[in-house]
Subunit: 348 residues, 3 copies
């Protein structure tokens, strides 16, 4: 992984900072927010998607770097540096380029790139969440662990966007394994928690030294329409691919937990990978009224659910008296850091 | 219950009105709205929740009155009076303090506190709704009333937030009662209506002499994720605890009914407890295309679903040309009442 | 159908343009938007709905033309012309007046009234969508077409708002037909696609020569609450009547398809009925992660889902730096056309 010093050296050559990201995931929001904060923007864009970004004049990057393949990454990096770009990482950048190559990218990145390393590895994620004191769904490493009646969520390693995930009773899974229909080596077994999913969007600000709750959503997966079919069709709906998001707000009395969880995750990250998580992150939670919150994942960067709120959310309006998306919040943090001479702290 | 005259006397001593509420439920919105209308704010806050309200600078009360227990209510009341507070009642205040103590509170309260008395009692609620001519789900008082095929919603008296509620066929319930598995004395039996839930948020303005439709939501309960599990897991999801809200808009052709229902409820309240309901209220409705709207509950004060709209809603923008939440609407009514010398009419 | 020349003649007599629509469907949004763009407004209103529009001062038409029946259409038309009205068509206008009478209306109409002709006929719709290269669900015209295991969506001709629609396996339907329980002559048979429904709201601007994506929603039907009942109650919930809408955003990587589909539909419409679709339209789509997007319907005018966004949406903010609803967008296009002397192009 490229060192912080190397990045600092690049940054010192920069004159007029531009904000850049890969044209996908939450790029519209990132460009729109950056423009609102007075930055020029640079979009790394697959050729067949330029028309998408041209359709949104106020979120269209000022500069396009088009490519037909992410194998040309070194060349792209050079262009990005020429344009004095700070890159904003998101899930599509990681998916397209690969986390290892992202970590190597010789380009200043908003936040702490170590957080991408920690989120990319399921075991590291759980270590992080557990050390922070968050309740996580029970995981199973062998058949002996599970009872006949346990509710399991079976996730395939490396599956894209929830593909093939399924839920099953412990007993039935045992019999599948014994019959050789599935191998435990290929799967990650988690307790299935009945409850409501809430995805709070946080922002850890080094400039203000505080964790902000900016918005919240619920992800829409194919299974979310399964009740419209028959029971026998359930398998065709049993697909956890996230294709959209809806806004959802949580009971105000539960914010106590939501905010504490965000703070604990930040505090722990400082110990695990100094200076810890910087900027946006999301906890994927399930709320069960009897058992409380379970966190089954952490996204240590901007999440797509924030796209719902380019004009601010039911939480951001209590923090900022202007429309504040997570995309704009990132640019705002960069602008404040620049003004205070602290850019090197919020970039790596 | 404290008399209107006693409250008026307290109010006459007040110099600079401050707006206060218990830090829970919809307090962020209430404080934020009050600040927008130029009021200072006072938060009665459990010690472990102060950090929540400090996380939202624009919705943080100017004064905190912290407490570890609501048994110290008389002392709190004195502090509230010292700060010239008008208190905004909400469901968490009622839940924590108890409706009888709330009605006794020697502190000016926005609205008509008699409406809290009427909403706190299921029989009074149904009397109110029926006299207003609203359709309510059928209720059952004995086994003789119900047929084998009736769809019933069984609610336990005093259950918090929908705990333990369940649906059942009439025949099956009869057999449970006969087998001594459940006693009809502990439950409230309602017809279960298939349909879509809509929760319109109204505001009855004495100043403008009109009923406003400010916003609308659908509540999120654990059961709303039940289709994600198996049929055999249904019982673990069968929990009607409300943990969140999503925005929902209704067909414009149905607004005719929504608005009429709101007006009728207000008109009837004037006869039942003069001057009737003042300020925000909500009707909990089910819409069935063949049978129309059923109202299964009334909340005679601000509801948490309004929290979705601190920056205005798809209805409020047609009434006000600035972001108007229900929280801000309350403060706006108080400000106008002050300016017109009518404060005593909107407070009790 | 009235000719374009006749409409132009009427238009040339107009002095101060007013914007008019039937008081239903999306009228609040249309009036509100027109007022924001500086137009006076005219509402054609059933007498028992005037109170609805009076409840929203900023969306209340400046002039009401009240009626108790749409049989008096010629008289209404005269009044509309006297008030120099341009009428905005929507689904309730078409439902109340009938598409043929709407096409005959001697009143300038925003957009191209030919698009209403094309959307009113299922076969024309499918011809349009297929020529545009959009994937549509398979349709079945005879029992021979279908296999035992096919998933079918059965829609009755002329059914209002989804009434009576149901889903069924091919084999079971065959047996119903053979037993004489249903006649294929009365129904339209479509493949039932498992997936998530997305309803993108587009606007084809002649003035800017571009297709804009203004917002997106998901419709709420009675069946969307069916998981709250028992399996045996499913039939009572099996009702596809749309009664509301919720906001939903789609993954940014899928916008590529959403935007292409909108453009193709516009391009094809130019060939099918020159100058093609003008102004707002909506594609009713299902997204299945494995099979992509299916479009099962096109609405060639404003849809009610846009009502969610009188203050702009998560897409409109990337195009316009002020709150831009579809209603306002229509008025804005008219205003720009007026300023550029192109009104005759955006009206027919």
């Amino acid at each position: 992984m490229i060192s912080r010093d190397e990045i600092r050296e690049i940054l010192r050559e920069y004159k007029t900072i531009r904000i850049s990201t890969l044209c996908s995931h939450s790029a519209l929001q990132i460009f729109h927010g950056a423009k609102k904060e007075g930055f020029e923007t640079v979009g790394i864009c697959l050729e067949d998607r330029v028309h998408v970004y041209e359709s949104f004049p106020l979120a269209k990057p000022d500069y396009f770097i088009t490519t037909s393949s992410f194998d040309e990454l070194p060349e792209l990096t050079e262009k990005l540096r020429e344009l004095n770009s700070i890159i904003i990482p998101h899930a599509s950048l990681i998916a397209h380029v690969g986390v290892n190559k992202v970590l190597e990218m010789a380009i200043p990145m908003f936040g702490n790139r170590l957080s991408l390393l920690w989120e990319s590895n399921r075991e590291k994620q759980f270590q992080w969440l557990k050390e922070a004191g968050l309740k996580v769904p029970r995981t199973y490493s062998s058949l002996e662990d599970m009872s006949e009646e346990d509710n399991l969520f079976v996730k395939f390693h490396g599956a894209k966007g929830g593909e093939g995930y399924f839920i099953i009773k412990g007993g039935k899974l045992k019999r599948m394994v014994e019959a050789g229909e599935i191998s435990l080596e290929n799967v990650f077994l988690q307790e299935f928690i009945p409850g409501v999913r809430y995805y709070p969007h946080y922002f850890n600000s080094l400039i203000f030294d505080r964790v902000e709750l900016l918005s919240m959503d619920k992800r829409v997966e194919t299974i979310d329409e399964s009740y419209r079919g028959w029971p026998e069709m359930f398998d065709e709906f049993r697909d956890y691919t996230v294709s959209g998001n809806i806004p959802v707000i949580i009971r105000e009395s539960l914010l106590k937990h939501i905010i504490s969880m965000g703070r604990k995750v930040v505090e722990t990250s400082k110990k695990l990978f100094y200076p810890g998580i910087v900027g946006p992150f999301c906890l994927e939670t399930i709320y069960n009224p009897k058992r409380g919150f379970f966190t089954f994942e952490i996204s240590a960067r901007i999440v797509a659910g924030t796209n719902l709120f380019p004009n601010g959310s039911f939480y951001s309006w209590y923090i900022f008296d202007k429309p504040m998306s997570t995309g704009r919040r990132i640019a705002y943090e960069i602008r404040l850091a620049l003004e205070k001479g602290k850019l090197e702290e919020v970039v790596y």
